[in-house]
Symmetry: C2
Subunit: 325 residues, 2 copies
DNA sequence: CTGAAAGCGCTTACAG
DNA sequence: CTGAAAGCGCTTACAG
């Protein structure tokens, strides 16, 4: 099959290539009748623009990129990516994915030089993140998921943690803990602060935060070895919550009687265990879509305002309940 | 920052653009000394080829594509994708991802017309799969994960099921069951047949197969309501195994005493529950890499032989044990 | 071994 | 409203 070009259309319609281009792109300066004729021929020939030719002359890649740290086996990412795609896919903007072994900066450089993407989405923003500065220098449009110096969309940590801690307080918990991802992440920093604030506001007796890295199960085990031990555990991700359930089972600690467990995303994983996981729901698909939408604005030339996505809401299931003593 | 082009290099090195192009691409017909001089200038200027310009003249997109069904929230996919990327990323071949709402065919058409990708990887091959025929017609190079009329890399269902059933037989199980994905998938069909073969070979008293769709938990519940009920359950995916554990807990069925559960991929999820999941390990990252490698051959002009990936191996943990009666 | 030229399929000023 | 022409940054025959 040979792919038709605007040259074929022009010849067939008896006009110049430029006229075809104008007509196809909805530019003014073509009479309604010729436009219609051209569109008809294009349709008849099954013409579709060559993305590379268009990119070369318009200096637009027609694609956006996402660089992932190699280790990221996080199932949550898939839903985020699906969210990005729900915005760009229908617009025929390609989504380029690259896993980078501690060389994310090199990928951005490479993409910029190769003119591969028009912009990028940045996940897992760190408190001190060299990617932010580089993207600024390169002038590569970017939107970060999590607050940064670049345009961003972030989660409402305050509401999320107030919701979680409030739920536990109402159930009667007084000693609570939270397990989060790396403390270097902006996400973790914000949620930890919000968790401690909420715990203070609700006069918790104790509220401690630990990191799940490098070993979440070990962290939970340490947490549950404390005396008196916390009666509730707020988990950053659903996978961590699943792991906490496993550790509790291993130690013979009953959920929710002796330990309440709260999950952090509410993916389908929450429904798998028994008891099913209560979660503070963050719709990662929509969150991804919101970020993609922001990048789209940026690429269109607007300076989009920083947005807060949310608010999260509580989905009550079996893994939380009043503490029994 | 302005990006340097071969024109800049040519001027600076005092040669023609074509000479620069030849030198940069390692083509013969350039003296060693000029080549070195040109490479030096290119380096000095920080030149990188424009992927779109190169694509336009070479008629190569420099990218491969993957279309995913919209519903695919399967965490396993992320590792497969990482495997693809481990082959293409280092070669600066982009990986284009698109989620399609029951219109995967349209995406292939669109990509072909737009010359967006040089080839595609196809996952979740169905027994009767219209994508295979379309890709053939378009002449879009493709490799399928799972046997098809196109070049493919597939899993060793026989060994996997012999390993799983053999393990259970050795433990003393006589009534076993298997839960798999949609029966329309080649993967499911092959594994179901292999499971039944292995069960016959090991003289199992009963061996039944059910589908996890649309509701895996419900399917497991039905399976466990049978009298006499199976004493072991072989699960296609880790998520299903996690779900099976949850259902068992809900019904008060002890694992592994009253029910052994085998997982199907051995992702990190297997380590979360207690007891941890015994699994027939399939390294999805390597599987993805093998498929990507095959596509690379295909794009290089070879006709790669169909490959079987594997063999899978057993990773024994706590979720399987002798049946107690 | 090297250079001038055409071409990939579009877009976009610039003249008519 | 329409057309002829240059240009995007490369590759690749084709002459010297």
């Amino acid at each position: 099959m040979r792919r038709p070009t605007i040259h074929d259309i022009a010849r067939r319609a008896g006009v110049a290539k430029s006229t075809v281009s104008f007509a196809l792109n909805g530019q003014p300066g073509v009479s309604e009748s010729t436009r219609r004729r051209i569109l008809g021929v294009a349709d008849e020939l099954g013409w579709r623009p060559s993305s590379v030719a268009r990119s070369l002359s318009s200096a637009q890649a027609g694609a956006v990129g996402l660089v992932l740290a190699c280790e990221t086996a996080d199932p949550a990412l898939m839903r985020l990516v699906a969210g990005f795609e729900s915005v760009f896919g229908p617009r025929e903007v390609g989504l380029l994915l690259q896993f980078a072994p501690r060389t994310e900066l090199a990928v951005y450089h490479s993409w910029w030089h190769q003119r591969r993407v028009d912009g990028v989405l940045v996940v897992d923003v760190r408190v001190s993140d060299p990617r932010i500065a580089l993207l600024g220098e390169l002038g590569l449009p970017a939107v970060t998921l999590g607050r940064s110096a670049l345009p961003s969309v972030s989660l409402d940590a305050e509401t999320a943690m107030r919701t979680a801690v409030g739920h536990l307080a109402r159930l009667g918990h007084r000693r609570i803990a939270r397990i989060g991802r790396s403390p270097e992440l902006v996400h973790t920093a914000e949620h930890t602060a919000a968790f401690l604030d909420a715990a203070r506001a609700m006069a918790m007796e104790s509220a401690v935060c630990v990191t799940a890295e490098p070993d979440a199960a070990e962290a939970v085990r340490r947490l549950l070895a404390a005396r008196p031990r916390p009666t509730a555990l707020v988990c950053d991700t659903d996978v961590m919550a699943l792991g906490a359930l496993g550790v509790a089972a291993q130690l013979g600690i009953r959920v929710p009687g002796e330990l309440s467990v709260l999950a952090g995303e509410d993916s389908p994983l929450c429904l798998l265990p028994h008891p099913a996981l209560t979660a503070v729901r963050v719709d990662l698909h929509s969150y991804g879509a919101a970020a993609a939408e922001t990048l789209r604005c940026l690429l269109a030339g607007d300076r989009p305002p920083d947005r807060t996505f949310g608010p999260p809401c509580l989905v009550e299931r079996g893994s939380t309940g009043p503490p029994v003593s």
